[in-house]
Amino acid sequence: MFSDFSTYHSIPLITVPKIHTDLLWDFTFLFTGLGLVYFLVVFFFRNKLKKNGQEVARRKKELGPMISNFLFYEEDATNSEKVEYFNLKLEIRELLKDDLNRKVLVEILLDLQKDIAGDASRRLSDLYRNLGLHLDAFELLKSRRWEVVSRGILELTQLHVEESYGFIRKFINHKRGVIRNQAQLATVSLKHEGINYFLDTNKYQISEWQQLKLLDEIRNLENFKPPRFRAWLTSRNNDVVVFALRLIKFYKQNDANASLIELVKHRNNQIKIEAIECIKEFCVLEAMDTLKAVYGKCNAEVKIEILDAIGQMGEEEDIEFLRKAEKKEVNFLVRSKVISAINCITPGTILPTKDIISTSFPEEEPETEVGPPIPAICDDRVDPPPGDTEMQEELIPSPADSMKIPQPLEVMDEADEEAFKSSPTGEVSDATEEIPGEWELLLDLENEDTEIFEICFMEELLDILSEAASSEDPAQLVGVLPLDFLPMVTEEAVKQENRFPSIPEAILDLEVISEEVAEDAKFRLELDSMLQRIRVMEETGEVSLSQPYGDREINLGVIGMGQHNEDLLVAPADPEIPLNSAADDRQTIEAHPDSTGLHTCGPKNDEPSGEIQLLLPGKDELAVQHPSPEVFSEPLFYLTEDVTEITATDELETYASPEAKQQDMAATDTAYLSIFHELFRRADTESKLILLDEILAVGDEKELHFLIALTTSPNKALREKAILLSRQLQDIISRRHAQNSQQSNDEEFTERVPEPISGEGSTQAGQCDSYSDGQPVLMPLEECYLSDTGEPFNMFEVEFELIKEDPDPPGSDGNFQSPSHTLLDNILSIPVKIRDKFNG
């Protein structure tokens, strides 16, 4: 009824809008369709990508070798190669009519460009231009699409098309960032003056990334002479200023100090920071006042930079400023930097205070633990003051501590340590013991020394060889052993070996002058090798170290050791100074005072105290004091090896026993040349017997002497076996000699020298083996060649010809190589020789 009278109509708000279900189904179909399309497109894309990849790979495979042929074509090629080259060129031009081929070819060239440099790179660039591909790239520059233009710029830049410089540099202020950035990179890399143009005309901001890439381009330019970048410190573009500052720092242009100081006052924090970096780099002391003046207004980052600069350049009068800054500063990092700066200027001014337990050292608790590390305020550059060394060392945790969870800190202060040191027990606490252990562990001094020595030794030897090879002065070729890196041996060092009672005191009466070498096993080995070599020379008779040089003989430094002492007296000023006295087996090494090389000096008759010295060039010398001649009845070989190599007392005793001495004395001159000698010294009886089994296979005269020496061995088994083997070896050797003499009569020698150049038994440095009248003659290497040509000797131009090796080396005949050619070579070749010996 109300409805009949009502003036109200139904409320539209609650009239629910009709939802057409069909619309929902329409959407459903739409989405289904789209889903199907995506499904198909996924596989379409995959197939397309795969196909494209395969096609490009195929064409690359086809074009790649062609490009290689082009790149490595030489103008002086043969006619057939030239014909092939031109045919190839025609073929490529034909291929380039296809767009995909052009694209692939450019890809190949760009890939190659990344891997080559120099002339090959220039050829690649020429090829790119010759094929007209650069014209395509120029076309790309006209495109309206930013990525296409960028690609064109990149292509022209990477292939160094300098003609494009003018076209590309117009883009350096392009509105599209990508084009702009690419053009900037191209501008600075295509021409050296590009950087000037860029810095002059750039209007836009330069992102950090862009600066990084620009710097990368610039520093890879060949023969680039950077302009004075201070010119751009006045640019209105802050990024240009920042970049110029970075370049100033990179190229270390320290001619802009005034500008740098002004820029510290700049509003831009980045400019401030870069300017301070430069100030630090160039140590601009006059900037100190400015730095202090602007400090208060800077943010934390700039403050830290300023404090770093003050710490680096500051002096004691700046401490007051830093003290004030420390009081005012609330920022933890900045305050830490202030303290760091103070400690940099005056190390140790501010010491750690946190968690420090300051107590006097209690005697009843001698052990002190080192807990977690004390915070270190100073940075690495701070050198601890002498007075603080102990404290600082204590702060360093021991390796053991580093492996466990740190305990509360307990550190022994100086007073504690003093008290402890003066304690009746005299024991060192754990803390003090651990610290040197830590350092030793960290530095590994012993190993490091050995390693350093090895490196130095080998470097020196190689230097000597190279100097000898390159020296124009023949006198310097030989006998020059700048072994000044060697430590000097003095008495004290060897005194440590006195625990071996059987060694005569006089032998052990050695001392190290400046550096201990007793612990340096490597050095000992090397020194032994050298001395052994000298001993070899001694064994083989007189070693003349002189060579004719004009009208005079030049002393060559190292003197043979096979001479009697009487020879020393005969000609003390003579360059040839024989050293060996075979009569009493005394070894003396004496240096000639005029010689520039390795000098060996021994006791002259008027110097009975006796001293074996290896005088080294310069101020250093290797001096080995030896006892009086009568005490020094053993070969020098024993002197050095016994002292340095024997480590076990029982071995030493055995070796120093009368039987051993007798055995070695019987072996006399050549026994020790045998490799078995060295092996026997370290072998037990059983091993010796096994070694003896091998001696027939490898033995020669040296081993024969060695066996003869063994026949007096106190060991019955050894003695009997030695007697048996010596007979057998003797037979073998005599058979071998017979064969050799037969062969030598038939042999043609590949080279002959005009004339022997030295007297009997004397040899020269750098000599080569020659033969005169069927007899081996040794002469200097340079003489072999210079005498014919008259040209300056150049070791590297020597044309070698391999000849059959003489079964009897010159050394075994009493002649011997001069030291510069053979001594060092022999030192270096000892391991090879040993190996060869083992290998038979």
Binding site: V16, F31, L34, V42, K114, R151, P375, A376
Partner: protein, 475 residues
């Protein structure tokens, strides 16, 4: 109640659901469009130039990679070795041992020859006490720093690392993530390439490493995960990272950076106080705060997003672990949104307040609740006999086809951009999983989200939970 009014209410409920769904379609379609544009632009822009040339530049900024480790003894040594082999000159790897109860620290000390080093620490910095800072004695491991501290959770560990870092940028990653060798170069480029805006953070895609072949710290072969749950997650990640975040990145409204791969401007991160240790959604929360910090100071800034596959990680392979993870994410989401509720439709924060925040509110937090409501309504209406069956079926099919279409689009974009799953079979499997996802995976995720929200709303105490990783060797 009047049956007419009752019908009206029912109809309006239908309309609300329809509008919500249509809005979702529109947003997703827009996101698809934006991400497409962004991806194409990114691809073109990065198609030329050689990043590795910059690797050793003297101007290369310092980066500290912070990797919190808690009971990672099984894989920590290999993980660190992988981190130490990145292609970059100026970086530090800072592993924060967050009070591990296993042998994590001991293994690190032994493997990398570590020793304690002295270092003063800001007493005002709020984080759990540090037991020791270790550096390697070997020069080859000089990039490594290990911090041993009392347990305080991932956020606390990251904060410690941020505080102790001395580099301009810090990267917060999961220690078991595998970073591609050139990852840092991409990150530096992202930080450095802007000249007008300050880049305060860089985030990236997280890729799924389950079943991939990894040797020598390098990803040797990318394979489709063998586990069904991991496959669903792969699909979800592809959709989310390649379409969702790319789109938000295009709008400069990205509100989340994955905790597994996030890099920050250290100065800003420290200025905002680092990670919030009271939330489990710390990765989202810190981005909110950093953005607000910059907004409040009216400083031009941005957050960059890297779509390149630079970070690979292992995802849960069991339902229990997955639910636990998603539960935590939901709680973190709710905590963050609640903490920053003043941004909701606040024009002061521009797109953040008007677009990003509402999206997160409605479609990340509210959606599972609405889904549950919808499900209950359907059951109830069906029971009451008032269910509009035609509408229900049409609506269900529409939503389903849209979901499939969107997943297919994500797969298409993956193929176009990176084409990492080279076998056709893998793509087909992914598509089949896309068809099954709305019925299998989505309910699981929704359930986990509801559980997380429930825990938070009813104040049920729950922490991070534990995820047991099967682990992939990176050495």
């Amino acid at each position: 109640m009047d049956s007419g009014l009752y019908n009206v209410i029912l109809e309006y409920i239908n309309i609300v659901f329809l509008m919500f769904t249509l809005a979702l379609f529109i947003i997703f379609s827009t996101m698809g469009y934006l991400s497409t544009r962004n991806s194409i632009h990114y691809k073109k822009k990065n198609s030329f130039g050689d990043l590795t040339r910059i690797m050793a530049s003297p101007m290369a900024p310092g980066i500290t990679i912070i990797a919190p480790a808690f009971n990672e003894g099984l894989t920590i040594v290999q993980n660190i070795r992988s981190l130490l082999s990145l292609q970059y000159v100026n970086y530090e790897v800072m592993v924060v041992n967050d009070g591990s109860t296993d042998d994590t620290l001991e293994k690190m000390i032994a493997a990398y020859d570590l020793e304690l080093v002295p270092r003063e620490i800001d007493p005002d910095w709020m984080s759990k006490p540090i037991r020791g800072i270790y550096k390697s004695k070997q020069r080859s491991f000089s990039k490594l720093t290990v911090i041993d501290k009392f347990n305080g959770g991932k956020s606390d560990a990251l904060n410690t690392g941020i505080h102790l870092s001395e580099n301009k940028y810090v990267g917060c990653i999961d220690v078991d993530c595998l970073l591609m060798p050139d990852a840092l170069l991409h990150v530096v480029k992202s930080f450095f390439q802007r000249s007008k805006k300050r880049v305060i953070a860089v985030g990236g895609v997280i890729r799924i490493a389950n079943s991939c072949r990894i040797a020598g710290g390098m990803l040797e072969e990318i394979r489709l995960p063998a586990n069904w749950l991991a496959r669903f997650q792969l699909l979800e990640y592809t959709r989310s990272f390649l379409l969702g975040r790319m789109a938000w990145g295009r709008l400069d409204s990205l509100l989340i950076i994955s905790g597994a791969f996030g890099f920050f401007d250290r100065e800003i991160a420290v200025a905002v106080g680092g990670y919030d240790t009271k939330t489990v959604g710390e990765d989202m929360e810190i981005v909110f705060r950093m953005r607000r910090y910059m907004h409040d100071r009216h400083e031009p800034y941005t957050i960059e997003y890297l779509p390149d596959p630079l970070c690979w990680t292992e995802v849960p392979e069991t339902v229990q672990m997955l639910v636990s993870q998603r539960d935590r994410w939901a709680r973190g989401n709710l905590e963050t949104l609640f903490k920053h509720k003043d941004m909701f439709f606040n024009s002061k924060y521009g797109r953040l307040g008007l677009l990003s925040y509402p999206y997160w509110f409605f479609y990340e937090w509210l959606a599972p609740i609405l889904e549950l409501t919808g499900l209950i309504s359907i059951v109830l209406f069906f029971y009451l006999g008032i269910l509009n069956v035609d509408f229900f079926i049409a609506m269900t099919f529409m939503v389903y086809t849209f979901a499939i279409m969107f997943s297919f689009y994500a797969i298409l974009w993956e193929v176009y951009m990176y084409n990492q799953y080279t076998r056709t079979k893998d793509i087909l499997i992914l598509m089949i999983y896309a068809l099954a996802e709305p019925f299998v995976f989505h309910p699981l995720v929704s359930y986990a989200a509801l559980r997380g929200n429930g825990k938070k709303l009813f104040n049920v105490h729950s922490g991070w939970g534990t995820i047991t990783r099967r682990g992939f060797s990176k050495a």
